[in-house]
């Protein structure tokens, strides 16, 4: 199959169109403007709808509307804009609506910087909106994976009737890499008989809402949602391992830092330290079970590497528990760690745990 070189943001947008996305609703924010820019031209060409919304709030609620009426829809933004979308994400979970939200993360908090960041991990994996909820969060580390997960994201969203987030960082959004447009085998998905798209002979009206005024009914809804979250956790967890089998130290990282960790691990191996990398592809569900398994093996310790002050490391600690030491190295505010920084941090950490 033909390899084509694409820019990250545009590849993500094109992948969404190919996945059958029929509505894109967004608001400009750096570093993801190429997604709405691409969509503004290509979405109408493919028979879909593009609206530049008046705000991120409006954009996510347009996704809510599109999804409620049975159409595949998405929005994209970057960190501060994603904060504004949290309301809509919570409502989508509550009303059981599918949809895809792309966060091309930058430095925070507040306006922060426009350079790559990963400090929205807690927000993405714990839920930045109100209520007891979860969503699958896919975190690609290269452009091939970015386009592959877009197709999956829409399927996962439709399968569970729940929003899905694609969590990238500014570097993934801005870089160019070769990709191959693979044939996507769609999942067998339930028909959207619940959609509010006009009754057309249906015996009853469909009423999409997240409101359940009776506490008992609301609890029941929550229990139903939890059952779906459990299914997602069971079925959707993905990760990649490189040289973990004999590793003395395992670097745990997702997105761009995972690439840096891979390079660092290679250098560590060359120096005689057996390093491996575990790269979560879904950060929720997080590969806790696999990490726990590795912690029971011969590995001396785990070093989380992030572009934040330490968020994913909480998940690593939760998985590893007291079994092995867990260290952390991170840069934040838009600073991308260098390979040698990570290598040195791993060397230091290895000395401690040896």
């Amino acid at each position: 199959m033909k390899r084509e070189i694409w820019k990250g943001s545009e590849a993500i947008a094109e992948a969404a169109i190919r996945a059958g996305c029929r509505g894109f609703f967004g608001y400009p924010i750096t570093p993801q403007n190429e997604i709405p820019e691409y969509m503004s031209l290509k979405m109408p060409e493919s028979g879909g709808v593009f609206v530049q919304a008046e705000s991120e709030l409006a954009a996510i609620n347009m996704v809510y509307g599109a999804a409620a009426s049975g159409m595949r829809a998405m929005t994209s933004s970057s960190s501060p804009g994603i904060s504004l979308k949290q309301e809509g994400i919570s409502y989508m979970v509550g009303a059981e609506l599918p949809g895809v939200i792309v966060n091309v993360m930058r430095g925070g908090p507040g306006l922060g910087s426009i350079q790559p960041g990963q400090s929205d991990y807690h927000q993405a994996t714990r839920g930045g909106g109100n209520g007891d909820y979860r969503m699958v969060v896919l975190a690609p580390a290269n452009l091939q994976e970015a386009v592959d997960v877009m197709a999956d994201a829409f399927d996962i969203a439709d399968q569970y009737r729940n929003p899905v987030m694609v969590l990238a960082d500014g570097l993934i959004g801005q870089m160019m890499e070769p990709i191959v447009w693979k044939e996507h085998t769609p999942r067998v998905l339930p028909e959207k008989t619940w959609a509010a798209d006009g009754r057309r002979g249906r015996a009853h009206n469909n009423f999409i809402t997240s409101l359940l005024l009776e506490a008992d009914a609301c609890e029941k809804r929550n229990i139903g949602l939890k059952a779906k979250f459990d299914e997602m956790e069971k079925n959707e967890c993905r990760w990649e391992e490189v040289n973990t089998e004999d590793a003395e130290v395992i670097l745990v990282a997702y997105g761009t830092p995972a690439r840096i960790a891979l390079s660092a691990a290679e250098q560590l191996r060359a120096q005689g330290i057996k390093a491996g990398v575990l790269r979560p592809i879904t950060v929720w569900p997080f590969p806790h079970a696999r990490l726990r398994e590795l912690a029971e093996g011969s590995c001396r310790g785990f070093l989380a590497v992030e572009m934040s002050q330490g968020q994913m490391v909480d998940d690593v600690r939760m998985a590893v528990g007291e079994k092995k030491p867990v260290g952390f190295y991170g840069r934040c505010g838009g600073v991308v760690p260098t390979v040698s920084e990570v290598r040195l941090a791993a060397e230091e950490f290895f000395k401690e745990v040896q």
Partner: protein
């Protein structure tokens, strides 16, 4: 046996939860009748608000989507664009539309989105218990303006129909009320006209209903309707605010 009255097929056979004297039930009925008469119950999609009409999907017979507070016009934008041949309307109160959702309604109107908004202006937050709305009149008491709204504290009430009419995307705006049969008939005519213009693809259409909330106004039903005609209609003049075709 002759049928002299039946409920519109635009409504489900459910009991409304609205308070006695509240205008919501009447407006629901008018919208439902228009949908039925236009043979559109089966195709229409309603976007209902946060506020007293939050459960409108339990009453309207058409498919309904409950939106987050103020966001109904954003939700409706996507629904209408993806289902351009189907009637779409938002049904919103004054807190929802004129306060928290001010941006959404302004921009939907600016874009000339081809849906209809039914705006229930009763000058108060009903569901949360009588707090001041952006449409609360000067001197009117509310639980967050216990001594009455003052210009110094809260500015002057907002006239949404007039404000939105400055936007080219809005093709038709009329302010109506449902206090008596002649007004009710006019209101229904206005609602029908809005839906017709929507389906003709002319642009955004807006019906503002100045409505009674006897419960939160602390009045009986007769008093409330009198107060509405005396005070609200004085500040919010009834009639066509904009009709692009007629201009």
């Amino acid at each position: 046996m002759t049928t002299i009255y039946r409920k519109s097929t635009g409504l489900q056979d459910t009991e409304l939860h609205y308070c006695p004297g509240c205008s919501h039930g009447t407006v629901h009925k008018l919208v439902a009748e228009v949908l039925e008469e236009m043979n559109a119950v089966d195709t229409s999609i309603c976007i209902c608000p946060v506020g007293c009409a939050v459960l409108a999907g339990n009453y309207f017979a058409c498919d309904t989507i409950e939106a987050a507070h103020g966001r109904a016009p954003a939700v409706a934008t996507a629904v209408k664009r993806l289902h351009p041949d189907q009637p779409v309307f938002t049904y919103q109160g004054d807190g929802d539309l004129a306060s928290i959702g001010a941006a959404e309604i302004v921009h939907a109107a600016m874009r000339g989105e081809k849906f209809t908004t039914i705006f229930i202006n009763n000058a108060i937050y009903g569901m949360t218990g009588g707090q001041m709305a952006p449409t609360t009149l000067i001197g009117q008491r509310a639980t967050t303006a216990p001594l009455g709204r003052t210009v110094e504290q809260a500015g002057s009430p907002i006239r949404m129909a007039e404000m939105l009419s400055t936007l080219d995307g809005l093709v038709y705006a009329e302010r109506v009320c449902v206090t008596d049969i002649p007004h009710l008939n006019k209101a229904k005519k206005a609602i029908r006209k809005a839906f017709q213009k929507q389906m003709a693809g002319e642009g955004f259409t807006f019906i503002e209903v100045i409505a009674a909330c006897p419960t939160n106004w602390g009045m009986d039903i007769v008093e409330a309707n009198q107060w509405l005609m005396e005070h609200m209609a004085a500040y919010y003049p009834l009639g066509v605010i904009k009709d692009k075709e007629a201009e």
